[in-house]
């Protein structure tokens, strides 16, 4: 079950619920607020979401990942609001009997989340300006 939260992400319960005797492999992905983007300096990011639909789309992603790969755990948690430098905006945990599935599902989930899920980030640049990020060429 996916989750949206205003709080810092706590990876310990995510990892411990994924580590089961059925899982030979656990992969955790964290997306972290980076300081440098194309030569510009970020101070912090702010995330907003169309929450009801974001949960629906995240749930659909988890379901699709479980259909594509043999997973014993698959959970996405996205933080909203302010995410300071070096802190995580998203945590994705996948667990599978054999390791390739956990890696492949984790990477597919973050790639697809970034295409489909109605969540947006606002850059707060070091020069004091702010900017909502709306990548061009969005896929349907």
């Amino acid at each position: 079950m996916p989750e949206l939260t205003q709080q810092p992400l706590d990876t310990a319960p995510l990892l411990s619920s994924a580590q089961s005797p059925q899982a030979g492999a656990v992969v955790l992905f964290l997306g972290v607020t980076r300081q440098q983007t194309d030569g510009r300096e970020t101070i912090e990011l702010h995330y907003d979401a169309y929450e009801k639909m974001a949960i629906k789309e995240l749930t659909a992603l988890e379901t699709e990942a479980r259909q594509r790969w043999q997973l014993v755990e698959c959970t996405i948690v996205h933080r909203l609001g302010c995410v300071p430098l070096g802190e995580a905006s998203v945590a994705i945990v996948t667990a599978s009997p054999h390791r390739h599935a956990a890696f492949a599902a984790g990477e597919w989930l973050i790639d697809t989340l970034k295409e489909r899920v109605p969540i947006w980030k606002k850059e707060h640049w070091a020069d004091g300006t702010t900017e909502w990020v709306h990548p061009k060429g969005m896929k349907k």
């Binding site: 009801k52 629906k56 973050i110 989340l113 489909r116 947006w120 909502w132 709306h134």
Partner: protein, 81 residues
């Protein structure tokens, strides 16, 4: 019919509002909605061509019909993660 459209992120910033209202013919499609928004809210011009629309929480296409009292949202290109 009068349609209420939720706005997010850059679209909300451009319009200066969390939601906007637009008058549509009965049985309008998303394409007609997009055209009506562009006419009534020219400030949304830079984002509208790149935005998708969601009807009752599902992505719609330009050909999708808009049911009465649907929840309509304008979804500019997403940037989560």
């Amino acid at each position: 019919m009068k349609a209420t459209v939720k706005l997010f992120a850059g679209a909300r910033e451009l319009a200066g509002q969390e939601q906007i209202e637009v008058e549509l013919p009965a049985e309008a499609t998303v394409a007609q909605l997009r055209a009506a928004l562009l006419a009534d809210y020219p400030a949304l011009g830079p984002l509208l061509p790149h935005a998708l629309f969601a009807i009752n929480g599902d992505y719609a296409t330009d050909q999708s019909d808009i049911p009465d009292s649907a929840e309509i949202a304008c979804i500019p290109p997403v940037s989560g993660g």
